[in-house]
């Protein structure tokens, strides 16, 4: 990033190669849409180019990158006055399931994905950062400018809410067979 700041703009390509998948995964899980996430990744790297002078070398690049990614996503929805519901956000090739029959055929992972998208965006963000980006709670706290204890409490609550939504979706299945594992193999 220092090279980009000095004017060696070609180095932005290297930064893209190294970080774009992480940013894309974060944005795809937040929006539920591959196409929107791709556009937002583009927006993120445009912003890096535009605001390259504002990066301070004493802060980790990834923290700055995710701050830009969060802003890009927020601006996207703000501009479109978009309510990020699951059905709105999904790609055309993956239509939102509606009838009970669809629910029945849906895999457990797809149902959990639906539950995740039904979670409020700020709660979903915590789970995405902690679970998929494997960010330490201290790093999330710094990113969201909240103390680390609060982050842990919120992660706990968000996870509980996610589980409740998931179980509600399960209970709507015609033949109520719970496929959810009762316990974790890692514990």
């Amino acid at each position: 990033m220092q090279a980009v700041q000095r004017g060696d703009l070609a180095k932005l390509g290297s930064l893209f190669d190294r970080h774009h998948l992480a940013v894309f995964d974060f944005l795809a899980r937040m929006t539920g849409s591959r196409a929107i996430a791709e556009d937002l990744v583009q927006d993120v790297f445009e912003r890096i180019l535009k605001y390259r002078a504002t990066w301070r070398g004493d802060a980790p690049f990834s923290a700055w990158l995710f701050r830009i990614a969060r802003n890009a996503r927020a601006d996207y929805y703000r501009k479109r006055e978009f309510t990020a519901t699951y059905t709105d956000a999904m790609d055309g090739e993956d239509p939102a399931p509606g009838p009970e029959a669809t629910l029945e055929n849906e895999s457990e992972a797809a149902r959990l994905q639906r539950a995740l998208m039904l979670l409020r965006a700020d709660k979903r963000e915590l789970i995405v950062l902690a679970r998929y980006r494997e960010m330490k709670y201290e790093a999330i706290a710094e990113l969201l400018e909240v103390d680390v204890g609060t982050i842990k409490v919120r992660v706990h609550r968000s996870l509980k809410e996610l589980r409740d939504i998931f179980l509600t979706l399960e209970s709507r299945l015609p033949c109520n067979v719970t496929k959810f594992p009762k316990s974790s193999p890692t514990i």
Binding site: D25, A109, L112, Y137, K152, L159, I187
Partner: protein, 262 residues
């Protein structure tokens, strides 16, 4: 470990970021607390199942191509703005150089033909050079870019003689140029023509009309250096009514140096 501590430690426990002592203590508590055990099992199952949601794959190649195009555009912009303003391959400069070479050739040709023809030839070359410098100066002073105009004003000092066109252009710059630095430079450049009434009158008028303290100070110095007593009225006005205190003081100083009591 108490039940509320379990809630507190759970996020770290799920992310496998607890130390061994905490882990053992937490699991010991779970063995004796059915409620906590149920909650931890449920949330741990959700945590693990989240890992089963596949991640989408982006079209990295297309995204990289878009980024490369963006970088290329930005590099072009960067190159355009970092180039020096004065271009040696500018058509005007090229034309001047060509004319100079041509004139030099003509003069040298005549000089080698017959010795007596040399003095008029050299004079013609000087005239040619002066005209060229004047043309370049006037052309630069009409540019949109303030730095180009500033260059033109400075270049006017290199024009020999006292072409009316240069004086008119400098006065026009002093009166109407939007850039304060260019106006300041024009005051300096006009000192060379201070013996002309039109220039001295313009300086007095400018004392009334200019609003920039920097230009006002330069004009005060100008009228003092040229001992223009006709400027006393304008200086008195400035010494009392100028918004800037430094200007007021300088105007009073100017009146004193013009040998008039303020």
């Amino acid at each position: 470990m108490q039940c509320d501590e379990v809630s507190e430690k759970l996020p770290d426990y799920l992310a496998s970021r607890v130390d061994e002592v905490t882990r053992v203590s937490l699991e010991h508590h779970l063995q004796g607390c059915a409620a906590c055990l149920q909650e931890v099992e449920g949330l741990a199952a959700t945590w693990v199942s989240l890992g089963g949601i596949p991640s989408a794959a982006p079209d990295s190649r297309a995204m990289r191509a878009r980024l490369d195009a963006l970088i290329e555009r930005e590099q072009e912009n960067q190159a355009r703005f970092s180039k020096p303003r004065f271009k040696w391959n500018h058509p005007l400069v090229t034309a001047c150089a060509a004319t100079l070479v041509l004139a030099l050739g003509v003069v040298l040709g005549r000089a080698t033909e017959s010795a007596p023809a040399a003095p008029p030839g050299v004079a013609a070359l000087h005239q040619e050079l002066r005209d060229l410098k004047q043309m370049v100066t006037l052309s630069l002073m009409q540019q949109q870019s303030a730095s180009e105009r500033l260059r033109g004003v400075s270049f006017s000092n290199q024009v020999d003689g006292s072409g009316d066109e240069i004086v008119t252009a400098l006065l026009d710059t002093l009166r109407h140029d939007t850039n304060v630095n260019v106006r300041l430079a024009s005051v300096d450049a006009l000192k060379r023509f201070a013996e002309r009434d039109v220039v001295r009158r313009a300086a007095i008028d400018a004392l009334d009309t200019q609003r920039s303290p920097l230009v006002q100070m330069a004009l005060i110095d100008f009228v003092v250096e040229t001992q223009e007593r006709g400027a006393v009225g304008a200086l008195r006005k400035l010494s009392t009514a100028a918004p800037n205190e430094t200007v007021r003081t300088r105007a009073a100083w100017g009146i004193k140096h013009l040998g008039v009591e303020s």
